[in-house]
Symmetry: D2
Subunit: 407 residues, 4 copies
């Protein structure tokens, strides 16, 4: 009976790719592990579904989708005589499956409030090591690749680079579920044009327009979707409400929360004290802990907490203004005064309702170039290879300033 | 500023239909209401995402999608000279938007555990009446239609019949998000072939094959998706865990839960005592209350509760057997004995782990026929109109028996 | 240089499947052969584009698509431990690529007018044998399979049966290009459920609803698309105009035509005298020969020929009436008289303008059953395996009568 | 009966947009006219189907698709309070339907061989005027708009500008049928963001990324699809074969051709002598005349004509080299010598087999800017409005040189 189990689930449906095949039983078992199953309860795009109601896809599905694209990449590269051993192949699948396993509930919001000072990549690595122990060290090669320590650079570049499998799936998937068809990219074609020269991942010359389009599509997704005003506001309000809750918890105030959320609210977590128990607690924390708590906080006696919570739950979101220059201090303080008076809050409390920050997007990072393999067999940065489009301009980070306050 | 608000949100993205337009500010305000926003936190397909990982779409999106299709239907019917007043049009949009607002968390599971004895349609009606009070009686006509009390039958049939707008959206939507392309139906074509004869909704003759295909697609979706073994098991386990929690709560045992879930666990709700407070509590209950509580119950001292909870959260689901005949009592009691011994449970406790039930699907209900308008201008039941396919057979309900128990 | 050529074209774009890979250079060379390239100039659906303007896809693309699905089928079956040698695999690709190579211009129309008495399958076989000579007998196994002479029945069933790869592609493709989404089938899923038991192609139990849906979709496509009134009329008018042209040519009248069309108009071709020259001429005949000739015939002095030609070119198509019973002789002769008088034609001439015939469709042929592999490992006809839907009814051929005459 | 006709065809299927509605009977009658029906026999992308086998869509379907998008544009603009009268609306539909009616067989190829010196726009205008006479001057306003003579500039800009309805359909359609998904644009979104300020067509601020993506997608389609090596070679070979045929015809040599092709081969057509008869002949000339003639010319005694024809029909296309600089004269003459010797051709004859030319693409033309309506209500050229992407670079035409010769 036991043996048959993997078979049953060997194939998963994906609205985007059709069928996804689970290649072997080790991978099947990793997917079945509670650590990985947790990803079913973390949405890929956080509060973006407040703007794009179709965007409820999970990190689970994204990770599975990445594994599928990785299978295609391996197939294409082998077809082009790139030598990839069975162990390396397997390690690629594991590494891409687990690359985001360290993401917290509502992804980035959590990183900026309750688990500060440690990146999700570092947490992913902790999970991988834990799993490696459980699975008889079968994840060792995957970990080496994930850490960028394997001499064959392209293995790492498939996992993490400006044209990695992660991006090829998430841009396609996010575009699909939001309905923003303009962000759609041709993952298939980009993969079909991959090659490896001196252990470096490259794109063949004829793929140059596809890469350009990929960069432009990604840029569009950033400004139109990921940094969409409404989603941005909601995410910032989430950060604020969690910060407030943490303040209250640290002061010893009672507030509704699940066991694991409570752990993170009442404990200061830093790189140095992130231990096994922290990992275990982290592995139980997902969107449900956060959102239900916020729902309950709507009744809390702390005005800041309850007000913010109500606004989030009932989607009465702050107004946001965005501009290229920094907001004038006077403007901010005038806003703060108004709010302070309107809601009867003191200065500190008001800072949860009126705040200013920046958003940054760099469309292309020339430190880790996307390489084009030209017809003469040489490789060059896409920025130089492109015949006309001034991609150099995309390397300048775009910075915008915003201010939020209640409507 | 106030005035501009509706404008901003006039258009919603839908991966299926492209853009959905919100027709006016009354409808916009209904959508903004917390009662309706709650639907963002209730998935359309409950635990089906354990089988089809893409199926995380919400009742919110389904309701919005229905409104969109209703706009198309009104357009088509008016084009065919069917008289529909502006008030009726608006009422249709409101009625279809709110038709499912009474659905509880995880939809059907809740109806069979903690809010027994009152259907979601009845609760929808309670919500509509409450909203009607809030919105200056502007929902009155919508309510009359929803109750089937309007003399123009087709208005009701667009909301609720065997070929209503509800089904036209959910079959298409569920097929889309699960990736089960075979369940895809051509809502557009079916709507394009709608007409009204003597206030009765009919499908024009040339649409006969489309209706047949619609019935077959729906039947396929039932057996392949809605009643998929794994989803079925998970839903039944959910019912059991909630029943156990209710038992414990009624006995006065402490157990983690949100305010509103706690209300329903500790109160016996019947048709007669479902009052305003109940409605308010219900309006705050969604998937997050249920799932987070289950996560917490994994640590509860009650063995039944914690065991079931762990199995659900970590996706260690029961085995299920399905057959055409009733399961033998002896077979069931043998299974119960095994489980009882294996987990150290008494008889009553074991009944949460080994249980048998039936599933029923009737592909076509001849009491509320789908009418075909034939070339001679007469209307007849699709069962008689179809030239060959024996649709009569589809009127017999298919009943299957199943038994569940831990693997 | 020679060696590199195959590489260049190894991948073809398909709007339906994405990328299609050409597996090896033998297959590449067969595709490059003028016999196969001719299929680029023959539309898959003949005059259906007069109803569905998107339906301009060619037999070339269909054949390539079939090869792609066959690659998937081989992969699935091998995954299930079905032994398929490399030679058999290759033969399957060749056989499916060439299964329709004997189709004439405008497909079926030609078979009923100028190349009577020999089926397109027989002509396909002639082409295969000719190619076999050119390609050093490398097509021998493919031919054996195509003829149904290979002992492993499933190889033949993949090429020709009620659930063959041919149908899996053409239903999907025709539905895609016409925009009749209801005819869409899930080729992927059906292939994923294929298996082989005792050399017999079977579908696994859980695929039963997919097969049902496939049969219903096919039936819908027949009545809604393939036998659509307008397409039917156009095709019949095409048969008539070609018959008239042949009559005139046989009488020695001069009329515009290409070399190869002229050959078929002026020569009586039967099974016995279909020789190498006939094949050569046939290999040069495509939609372009036929349609341009009809365009020129609009100026011909023969009234029947020019009138019919004008009506076709300018899309002034006949009216068609369809009913379940035979048309009354008197009704037909009355129509004939009217037309005869209106256009000044004698009796014989009028028969090109008023004619009656039948259309038949059998949705399921129980002589070559689709086998379902049930859970007990036994195989049974889908008609018996289906739990409810009365598929037996689908075995009765539906016959309809029609009459055509100018509007 | 007459009245009912339009009804029958009121709705057309489109794989891209679903259903397309024909708005009224005047438009229906224009579509039914033989001039317009001719577009059914002219493919949109000429010989691109030799590279992308799915690209067999016709100018007929493109024109119908444009009309559909124009309906959406009118709806959007009116929703934004832009005043468009019913007459203007109708004129827009007619103008966009007929904007390409002057395209010859295989589109551009013909313009460069047998109907030199007169653009397809000029011929379109001739057709419109002829139709205007036939339809009681009901096309007058459409013609004024098409000629750019209407004072309301945006009407013309919808028909012809850098973001006109024509491009919104053809980029989407060509991308769809070729399967080059990267060229897909979001016509819906772009239209949703259209507005009119001072009779000027503008795109609202938030659409800026969509416009950028549109420009990049178009650029990609040019280099990857429209100027794809293989398609380019085939089109150039077509130009050559037609030029040769014209030479022979002018010398009085007999060669197979249809009546209308013969007219153009044997007559020198210039702007001054393009009369009513020319128009009538042109209205009968389509892809079928050209391709069938080439098929027949494979047997012609003129070596150049027959050799080129065979190469085209059997897809034995020339090799092409592309580079940024002009090809060296010596290189060309060396190639010519080789070919001359290999095929036994004299110098003049060889020039049909070895030739060099340029291709140009300008991604953005700053003389007719795309205007963005910024938040302050001012309009500015997208080149200035874009925050980062250096669109200025796109205004420089890219010029590439190519040389072709037999493999």
């Amino acid at each position: 009976m036991k043996k048959k189990k993997p078979n049953k689930l060997k194939i998963l449906n994906d609205p985007i790719y059709g069928f996804i095949q689970i290649p072997n039983s080790l991978i099947f078992d990793i997917i079945e592990h509670p650590y990985f199953q947790r990803l079913r309860r973390i949405t890929q795009m956080g509060f973006s579904n407040l703007v794009y109601p179709g965007a409820n896809h999970t990190r689970f599905h994204h990770a599975i989708g990445c594994m599928h694209l990785m299978q295609k990449a391996v197939q294409v590269l082998r077809f082009k005589q790139v030598d990839i051993s069975e162990d390396e192949e397997n390690a690629l699948y594991i590494a891409i499956l687990l690359h985001d396993i360290g993401h917290g509930a509502f992804s980035h919001a959590l990183e900026h409030s309750i688990v500060d000072g440690i990146s999700h990549e570092e947490i992913s690595l902790k999970f991988m090591r834990k799993l490696n122990d459980e699975f008889d060290k079968k994840l060792s090669l995957a970990i080496t690749i994930f850490e960028g320590k394997n001499p064959r650079k392209f293995l790492y570049q498939l996992i993490s680079s400006q044209l990695d499998i992660d991006r090829l799936d998430y841009l396609k998937r996010d575009s699909f579920y939001t309905g923003v068809t303009e962000g759609n990219i041709s993952s298939d074609r980009l993969i079909a044009m991959m090659n490896v020269i001196n252990d470096e991942l490259v794109i063949e010359q004829k793929g140059i327009y596809s890469v350009e389009k990929f960069l432009i599509a990604r840029r569009l997704m950033y400004w139109q979707v990921y940094l969409h005003k409404t989603g941005l506001v909601a995410e910032n309000m989430l950060v604020k409400v969690l910060k407030r809750a943490k303040e209250l918890a640290e002061k010893g105030e009672k507030l509704f929360s699940s066991t694991s959320l409570n752990y993170f609210l009442s404990t200061k977590i830093s790189k140095t004290n992130f231990n096994d128990k922290t990992l275990e607690m982290f592995s139980k924390l997902d969107d449900y802990d956060v959102l239900l708590s916020i729902k309950e906080w709507t009744h809390h006696q702390d005005k800041v907490l309850s007000l913010l919570s109500k606004m989030i739950v009932n989607r009465k979101l702050f107004r946001i203004e965005i501009q290229n220059n920094k907001f004038d201090k006077q403007y901010i303080s005038k806003k703060t005064d108004t709010i302070s008076e309107r809601f009867g809050l003191n200065k500190t409390e008001s800072s949860f309702f009126v705040f200013s920050d920046i958003i940054i997007n760099q469309a292309y990072n020339s430190n880790k170039p996307i390489y084009i393999l030209n017809k003469k067999g040489k490789i060059e940065d896409i920025v130089n290879a492109s015949d006309q489009l001034n991609l150099q301009a995309l390397t300048n980070p775009v910075i915008k300033h915003f201010i939020c306050y209640p409507k």
